[in-house]
Subunit: 455 residues, 2 copies
């Protein structure tokens, strides 16, 4: 069976999309995606992974047109795309397309915002290009998932390069043939192995996808030609990197059904299996207020996987605490926190947190869904309270509200750039569609780290 002309049809669509072709509810999710991405890039900016990347690439930077979010360093477009892509993923706190577990914004938004500082574009235009890139990325992901991922490919890297190429190609106005070349150049650079999970190289993947996708578009613009059928050719991306090729996932309802509208945002800076517990404990805290000091015991009932992955009873460091459902419950009850500040060395060793953590017990029950938890609190006076979380916030069933996105943004950004700057960046990010110059966001967000009062 001959494959449909996937690359050609997709390229035609990419170059033709206009701002007003995208439904308002999709654009609205696009703005939320953008806000979440800015917060994560600023929030991750102080990580040692970003320090190491900057140390390596700084000497090779071209004209320093583009900011690194949450830092003072400036780099050329391609290297800024790389570093912002790294920092936005390094806390494992970014957005997720749940059908493919692609983290869509990193490769796409990192390339576009760096570009916006050299090729002026309006904020509405940036969101259009970003949504086009995310749509391309997620649809190509759907085409090959899960076999592609199962083979060992880190799908955020392998499909992200197409997303960045499409987004940048749209923004700089490639024609259809050039867009096909850009997709071909993306196909031939598609890479990223799951073996790298647990190392700095994991977050290198979305960064490099941003950089390589942008490079693909710039090469195509300069007349550097490539295959016109890089996605579907017998020796193209889908056949070489996957055992599954469902091209309908790429082409069906293109422009009417939007995968980009299905994006979701992690509310908490830790593995997703702890999220129901944090959500439930935060709700309990809202209900009991200061009575949190009168808790005698907390009993969690979870799916066995939760304890298998996060059963650490006495974490000593911030990193270890991300693998302790006990610590997560205590910090959610006392601090109402699941953001990066909930997983610091300081908090994990604070006496009141340890005291409450030691009152938390957990039991496994295979009949409970992985995404659920039952929390039974008993108070000193013998009274009890039960909270059953069916699905945690951040899931598609319970998406984060704008206020919750603000809270997530603020908590991580304040740690890096302080309160005043955080408010200013957050405001600009929400107003992106009204900005005449999208780069305003980059100029506000690319500021050096400050030590916040929280430290």
């Amino acid at each position: 069976m001959t494959a449909p002309k996937v690359t050609s049809i997709l390229a035609e669509w990419i170059v033709a999309v206009q701002d007003d072709d995208i439904p308002e509810e999709v654009r609205r999710e696009g703005v939320r995606t953008f806000v979440n991405w800015v917060g994560c890039a600023v929030g991750g900016a102080r990580h040692e992974t970003v320090d190491a990347a900057l140390k390596a690439v700084d000497a090779f930077s071209g004209p320093r047109t583009s900011g690194v979010l949450g830092r003072e360093e400036r780099l050329d477009v391609l290297h800024a795309a790389l570093v912002n892509g790294i920092s936005s993923h390094v806390l494992d706190y970014d957005d997720t397309h749940l059908k493919t577990i692609i983290h869509p914004a990193g490769p796409v938004a990192s390339a576009l915002l760096a570009l916006a500082e050299t090729r002026p574009m309006g904020g509405r235009e940036l969101i259009t290009s970003m949504l086009v890139g995310i749509e391309v990325e997620c649809r190509i992901g759907n085409c090959v998932y899960p076999q592609h991922y199962d083979r060992g490919w880190h799908i955020t890297g392998t499909t992200g390069v197409f997303g960045a190429a499409a987004a940048v190609g749209h923004a700089i106005g490639l024609n259809t043939t050039q867009m096909q070349w850009a997709l071909g150049l993306a196909a031939t650079q598609s890479s990223g192995l799951r073996e790298m999970f647990g190392t700095m190289t994991k977050s290198f993947h979305p960064g490099r996808a941003a950089q390589n996708g942008a490079m693909s578009a710039f090469l195509a613009e300069a007349g550097f030609d490539s295959s016109l059928q890089g996605i579907e050719a017998p020796r193209g991306f889908a056949n070489v990197l996957s055992d599954k090729q469902d091209y309908g996932e790429i082409l069906d309802d293109l422009g009417t059904r939007w995968e980009a509208a299905l994006n979701s945002y992690k509310p908490f800076a830790c593995g997703i299996v702890i999220h129901p517990t944090i959500d439930g404990c935060q709700q309990i805290r809202d209900e009991i207020g200061d009575k949190v000091g009168a808790i005698r015991s907390v009993q969690l009932t979870t799916h066995p996987l939760v304890l298998e992955l996060t059963g650490k009873t006495s974490p000593k460091t911030g990193l270890e605490s991300k693998f302790s459902v006990y610590h997560a419950a205590a910090s959610a009850l006392i601090e109402r926190d699941g953001s990066p500040t909930a997983f610091t060395d300081a908090l994990v060793n604070r006496a009141d947190i340890i005291a409450l953590r030691d009152k938390v017990k957990a039991a496994s029950d295979p009949s409970i869904h992985e995404a659920s938890v039952v929390i039974d609190v008993t108070f000193e006076d013998g009274s009890t309270l039960r909270k059953h979380i069916q699905r945690a916030i951040g899931s598609r069933d319970v998406p984060l509200t704008d206020e919750q996105l603000n809270d997530k943004f603020t908590r991580q950004s304040e740690l890096v750039v302080g309160e005043a700057k955080t408010g200013e960046i957050l405001d600009a990010a929400w107003r992106i569609e009204t900005l005449a110059d999208a780069a305003d966001v980059a100029r506000r967000a690319a500021v050096g780290p400050v030590r916040s009062a929280a430290e």
Copy 2:
């Protein structure tokens, strides 16, 4: 079965190799590889593919420390590695490791010479690092070939990134752990699809491998960590990108058996199936001299594949003439040429060439080996001459002599930088092992194109 610790053992070997550990005959082949690579990079420098690449990347260049061979433009180390890697491959005229059809020098030498302009190194040191890189590249190729290539991967790109990482890592003095990280970063960037053959993107592959491999080494040097087992892990390079993993090909006799010594050099700037005909016709010309004007007919007897691939009887352009065994025979008989000058628009339309070309007939015979040809010449006086080429020059059986390498170098280089510069560059390239500063070669070779008298 658990895989041996391939990445770790290989990294230990890479960092430990000293100049004197490499046998003189291997070093000698290394110098020939280097000379051939310089000639090809200069020879390809004027190609439109290189123009397009430069147009795209120039605006993003960092400090312009490193030359583009055969051109006036200067770029940062990473971009110079990219562009020199492209130009050295763009004429399909570079070196070949015949067991894997890897073109080894492009990714490795392009990265090293660009580096030598910022981190001074002696010429002997450069050759050592180059041989280490080529060895790593070809051994990893042997480990996965042919299944890896058959799946659709362009093996020069996918293994070249390891070669460049190893070479640059050796040159900048990474320790073993850093070298493992660099190999991990190379593994996760390993890419390049055979679908791109026939487009500019094919020669992008060795260029990008050079750039990405160098970047892998610089990141590792800066403390950017990665998997310690990027080659052999269950989700590492060999398992994800190939159905075959023969780790003995990587580890056995490491340091005693040298794949780098098996490198070969194309004598002619066209597909390998025409090479026996050009070789034979050149030999005939040497024997008959001016009697070439008295030829009545030329009968070629070849394997059917030769006519299938190169059976074009009336080529009109230089590019078409590369697919005409008839033109190749005529230009070899009249001009004694198989270099890029034999495949120009001008030559293909010259009256004497056309006249002789039309006297060339070809017949297929499946009993003749693909690498052989029988040439029967009949002269106006009825006399005849038969030449049977079993294996053409450039094969492992009949390697190019140093004089033939010089001839190849000169013919392509003179077209780009003229006669005087060509002599100077060729001389410096042969003397590489004696140069206190390896960058001397780059400084001499990175000069703007001139129109030669031949045009």
